[in-house]
Symmetry: C2
Subunit: 399 residues, 2 copies
DNA sequence: CTTTTAAGTCAATTGTCTTGACTAATTTGT
DNA sequence: ACAAATTAGTCAAGACAATTGACTTAAAAG
């Protein structure tokens, strides 16, 4: 009789949901198209001139947009374009990797204002958390000093680290596995330690977030970022939003077995970890990025040999991504040095045939995205900005 | 000066968008939980009692819900549950396959009312379209005859056929490829021929739509249907909605090469096409479904041999799906006879290790979904219903 | 210099959800 | 038996945000 099964339902919405959505739509349009007049915005968003005017006034009061020079476009009253104010919002991005952590501050339009990094001591989160918290505080302090209003316009802290999350692993001994961090209540700890909204994603997802906000995926609804870093992963932009999966582990393509037998994965042959091993260099060397970049640029034969083998598996990865996700484009990105990434893309040509091969393509099947050690941190920082300002279904719902 | 670049933006919303969303949320809650009282609905959707009352009155007037027996649940006034009226809406589903076409009529809650099928003549859409149109008209006529109000409550025609779509293929000679149909302007032709809203999806997506509406994926936000039919595919429920990809070809896992070399795909070993070839039976035999079902149920050694080989590749497919999509569960479904599907699932145990293997799972990693020749048609029919009544981002947008 | 066209504002209106007070029906406790 | 507590549901007024149509402003075209 006492029927206490929980009732499952989507949340309803109300006027505030409507209004919030329309604000986001306008901010998104300005980010995507640059400065636009109220009339342009009204046409693009299908809202009335009056509604747009009201929202623009609000946004201007909130310091998120400003007017620009009026422009004359033929007959009729000249229009006044409005553009986003970079200082309208800030976010901090944090990357936690095996032996290093990086923090970054970005503004509303994705400009990077501050970069700081620190070495992570061995010992996992117990010894690492204080270092990480201090790094975030350093960035925050400098931001506060440089922009008076920054503190109250700080929308959150985005964290990125290698996945997968929530899987029971038997890796306590291997310093290159992140298991202790992945099992640690990082969100809660950082949230308590900073008082900020904290979100967590894996490094491939972070790269995809960055590419969507300011990179090759800007304005695309369907794009996959093939992330080549210490591991391999895919960041998924599906239907205009980052897709996380049920437990934030979607896109872990580097862990996919190449076939039913064997037990090999793409990570075995195409990750930077495999490159370091192939070259016999120490992954912890502080100048490793520059070193690899130089040797790749100089067409070092050892590197070329690795590239040949890696390209085979990466070519298959692109084929798989295209077959399974049907994206508009695939973007190669991550912590690989630019020279290496460029050569990888060259070596991957010609790509394997796939459904992506059709008449009427406008975007290349594979293109180069951000390849720098800070790409993941940038993406981590982009997440809170996108969360606060991008149009999304969940943003219209109540509570 | 004449700056005519198109402006890209998401559409805004208004009061009607709000109202439409809330209606959908309520209908969805009733489908998901069965009959609920106004007070229950208000709690579940976070709307106020009054708002729910207003919407319920509207829905009752529209003939979409009716009140049920009042129930006493402890202290307080007894509540009056409201449930969906099956006759509140109807849709027709159409499956087009190599040599057969099936049409089906369903109601708002997914009951199948009418089933009809016809053989498709060789010659592709030129000779096939009249047959298909006639079949749809037959179903429509019978529906009209059985339910007086059906015609004006018919929300659309959903079509499913094998993908991929829009790819240039060189297959004119092979009667088992659907190229001519896939290149034909089917949507436009059927829309003109019936006057209905027509949508198109591939057969795996259709199965996923059916599983989500009335099957194993009911109420799940992240589920992948591994479709085993004449071909192999995956229907993707991602973030609560069917995911189609940029060109409706997402999930074509059967076309994924098993590795960079070789050129083999899962379809080569695990599709019903491969089974028919293995057994040396004619795929066009009218009783093939019953035949395979019987032989599988009797543990025919030829069938068991095929199952052993197919299970290897399907096991890998499940591993890949779990690694790449991170779903709550994987559902095996499609046109495979029940006895065969059951044995396949058994033969696939134990599954390959993957990220889906973690403490605290509630759903099985792999489960059996709909396996009957009508599953695709059911899914095709479910699409227009879902389009008309499910809460979705695009439903709140203007125009 | 009048007409046409487009940007943008003003004031009144409309549609939808919210609020707070109310009624109705049932169980619990004395 | 009866008052108190609790829950379902309604009523009527109010609040909020988008809409409408008339108006003002400013430029180009004829």
């Amino acid at each position: 009789m006492n029927d206490k099964r929980p009732i499952r339902a989507t949340s309803g919405t109300n006027h505030e949901g409507t209004s919030a959505h329309n604000r986001r739509v306008i901010i998104d349009a300005l980010r995507l198209n640059g400065a636009l007049s109220r009339a342009d915005l009204a046409r693009a968003t299908r809202l009335t001139k009056q509604t747009v005017s009201n929202i623009m006034e609000e946004l201007e009061n909130d310091g998120l947009v400003t007017s620009r020079e009026t422009v004359r476009r033929g007959r009729g009253q000249p229009s006044t374009p409005y553009g986003l104010v970079p200082e309208g919002a800030f976010a901090i991005g944090l990357q936690i990797d095996r032996h290093i952590t990086r923090a970054i501050a970005v503004d509303l339009v994705g400009n990077v204002l501050i970069r700081k990094e620190a070495n992570l001591p061995a010992g996992g989160p117990v010894t690492g958390t204080p270092v990480v918290l201090q790094l975030v505080e350093d960035v925050r302090a400098e931001l506060k000093q440089r922009v008076a209003q920054a503190e109250k316009r700080l929308v959150g802290l985005g964290v990125a680290m290698p996945g997968p999350f929530g899987i029971d692993q038997d890796d306590a001994e291997n310093p290159w596995m992140m298991g202790p961090w992945q099992r640690f209540p990082l969100l809660e700890t950082l949230s308590a330690g900073t008082g900020l909204n904290v979100t967590l994603q894996n490094d491939a997802a972070a790269c995809a977030t960055a590419e969507r906000m300011v990179g090759a995926a800007h304005g695309l609804d369907h794009a996959v970022c093939l992330y080549v870093g210490y591991g391999i992963g895919a960041g998924l932009i599906l239907g205009g939003e980052l897709y996380r999966g049920a437990r934030s582990n979607a896109g872990e393509i580097g862990m996919a077995l190449l076939s039913a037998g064997g037990g090999k994965t793409v990570e075995h042959s195409a990750s930077l970890a495999s490159l370091y091993e192939h070259l016999g260099v120490d992954p912890m060397a502080p100048d490793i990025y520059a070193l690899i970049d130089e040797r790749a640029a100089a067409n070092d034969p050892d590197i070329l040999a690795w590239i040949e083998k890696a390209a085979v598996d990466l070519r298959w990865s692109v084929h798989l991504i295209e077959t399974v996700f049907d994206p508009q484009t695939v973007i190669l990105c991550g912590g690989a040095p630019a020279a290496l990434a460029t050569r990888l893309i060259e070596a991957m040509q010609p790509l394997l045939p796939s459904n992506a091969d059709h008449a009427g393509r406008v975007l290349p099947r594979l293109q180069l995205g951000m390849t720098d050690p800070w790409a993941v941190a940038r993406g981590a920082a982009a997440e809170p900005i996108g969360h606060a300002f991008d149009p999304r279904f969940s943003a219209i719902l109540k509570s």
